[in-house]
Amino acid sequence: MSPVPVDPLAIRAGLERQLALLTPVVEHLRAAAVDASPLVADDWCGPAAEAAATFLADLRAGLRAAAEEADDVVRTLRLNIALLS
């Protein structure tokens, strides 16, 4: 069996396209983790206020985690592109 031919240029182009698609995702998730305040101030009190605060904290933590996850992929992509240079 002959090995599958590898086209480094095609692989690099593919990785760069992936990088171009994922970089804005990381940027958005990072910004959202810091800025996202989907709850407008209201006269909430008691358990409702606590639930809102918990939701907000969980959401920001989730956005941070997603940003880290996507950033890991982006870093790997950059590394692979650099290795192909």
Partner: protein, 470 residues
């Protein structure tokens, strides 16, 4: 122009919004939170699609794990948004159930107690009028005599103690009383109280409010009060309009006083004219008709569904301004002006496409389907309560307390939550509202006039009218 009111200066409570075509009441903040969550969900979905697109590139590296994380986050936002919707539904359902129970109880009490009280008074008048008169005189004499007489003392007391009438609870009480007058009448003619309390047994639509106002008008007319007269109008000025109004506050600012009606005519090349009619508030509260049509007589006759002088005067002004039955009209009014604006919309004689009212006692007036706009009320303003609960219509309802719990209520004017200044603050709060639903409604009303001035040949003229009783 609208003045910006900072949060610290604003004495009012949160905005309560019932979007057009809905019965669910939610705060503007709740609606805005739902809007923000929806936007975040859309952004997360777009992120997911980018990740999927990246993963589908054959010559790239496999991407795992990110999409499920993003979808979990999106589902979390969607869950929170659903919870907000349930909160609003539960609040609306609970509030409606409480109000229904209160109205049924008030109807039963009115049917039981009303006839007894009226019968007792009638017996007193017939059998011992002297005793009744002596009691009334004793009560009157017990009121301290001030510089403006005893009536002035009562007035000053009410102004000095605005907290007595400036609460949502008192406003609800007034609404219950006015919707129970017809129940007292039904009880008086022998209908059993349990039957009176049944939903649907009312002398007029809107919870019997019109029947109650008719009763007041009929009883008052025996004492020379609330007697209607012919009216006439004079155009007192015609001037170009530099700018169309932008926002709720600017429309409120254009509602006239003294000269009670302002009509703006908007024209553009090749387009039929459009008109905005602004109707002013009550000018005198005297129950005896003088030369002022914007009086208590018009208020009572309007709520009763009759033909009040101020309504006829507005129609005369509209005809003088050249408004034809097919021309598009936006009507807006404050207090009695809101009542009359609603009557114009409900008359079917004009092509009213938009309606905006502030503190109008107009809840019992049916508004045709398709008329959009806003009915704005302060929940601690007792005046709208005189028309009972709001009938269903296609208007967005926006409410809030003019004076939120704990703030000092000014003691310089009667019924402070009904004063123009209170509605100016509410109008500014509406303009500052964040929810997409409120902002879309404001933009739609703004566009009515602005669209024409943006077109070739766009121009506008304002006509003001002074109406008098003949």
């Amino acid at each position: 122009m609208s003045d910006s009111v900072s949060e610290a200066d604003d004495l009012g409570g949160p905005l309560l919004v019932t979007p057009a075509g809905s019965v669910i009441v939610a705060t503007d903040a709740l609606l805005a939170s739902a809007d923000r969550l929806r936007a975040l969900e859309a952004a997360l979905h777009a992120d997911s699609r980018r990740v999927v697109a990246a993963d589908s590139i054959a010559s790239g590296m496999p991407i795992e794990g990110i999409v499920p994380t993003l979808e979990r986050l999106r589902a979390r936002c969607e869950g929170a948004r659903d919870a907000f919707g349930r909160i609003a539904e539960d609040y609306t359902r609970a509030e409606a159930a409480i109000e229904r129970a209160q109205r049924d109880l008030a109807a039963a009490i009115a049917a039981i107690v009303g006839p007894a009280v009226v019968g007792y008074l009638a017996r007193m008048i017939l059998l011992c009028p002297g005793l009744l008169l002596a009691g009334a005189l004793l009560g009157w004499a017990a009121i301290p005599d001030g510089p403006d007489g005893r009536l002035g003392t009562v007035r000053d007391f009410m102004i000095a103690h605005p907290e007595l009438i400036t609460t949502p609870a008192f406003v609800r009480f007034v609404s219950l009383v006015v919707t129970s007058i017809d129940d007292a009448v039904l009880g008086g003619i022998g209908v059993p109280p349990w039957l009176v309390a049944l939903p649907g047994l009312e002398l007029s639509p809107g919870g019997g409010v019109a029947a109650g106002a008719l009763t007041v008008a009929a009883l008052g007319s025996m004492l020379g009060m609330f007697r209607e007269t012919p009216v006439s109008v004079d155009r007192v000025s015609t001037a170009p309009v530099a700018q169309p109004p932008t926002g709720v506050r600017e429309r409120l600012d254009r509602i006239p006083e003294v000269n009670q009606v302002r009509i703006e005519k908007y024209e553009a090349d090749g387009m039929p004219p459009r008109y905005t009619v602004y109707v002013g508030p009550t000018e005198t509260f005297s129950p005896f008709a003088t030369d002022e049509p914007w009086d208590s007589t018009s208020n009572v006759h309007g709520v009763a569904g009759l033909s009040p002088g101020s309504f006829r005067a507005v129609e005369l002004a509209m005809a003088d301004a050249g408004i034809r039955p097919g021309d598009e009209v936006l009507v807006t009014g404050f207090s009695q002006g809101g009542l009359i604006a609603t009557m114009v919309a409900g008359s079917g004689d004009w092509n009213v496409v938009g309606l905006e009212t502030y503190g109008a006692p107009a809840g019992n007036i049916p508004v045709p389907a398709g008329v959009s706009g806003m009915a704005i009320r302060n929940t601690d303003d007792l005046v709208p309560a005189f028309a009972g609960p709001q009938l269903e219509h296609d208007l967005m309802q926006v409410e809030r307390r003019a004076f939120r719990e704990g703030v000092e209520i000014p003691d310089t004017q009667a019924a402070p939550a009904h004063q123009r200044t209170a509605y100016e603050r509410t109008a500014t709060a509406i303009d500052d509202a964040e929810s997409a639903a409120v902002q879309a409604q404001i933009r739609a009303l703004d566009a009515f006039a602005a669209d024409y001035l943006d077109r070739p040949g766009g121009q506008a003229t304002a006509m003001t009218y002074r109406a008098t009783r003949d």
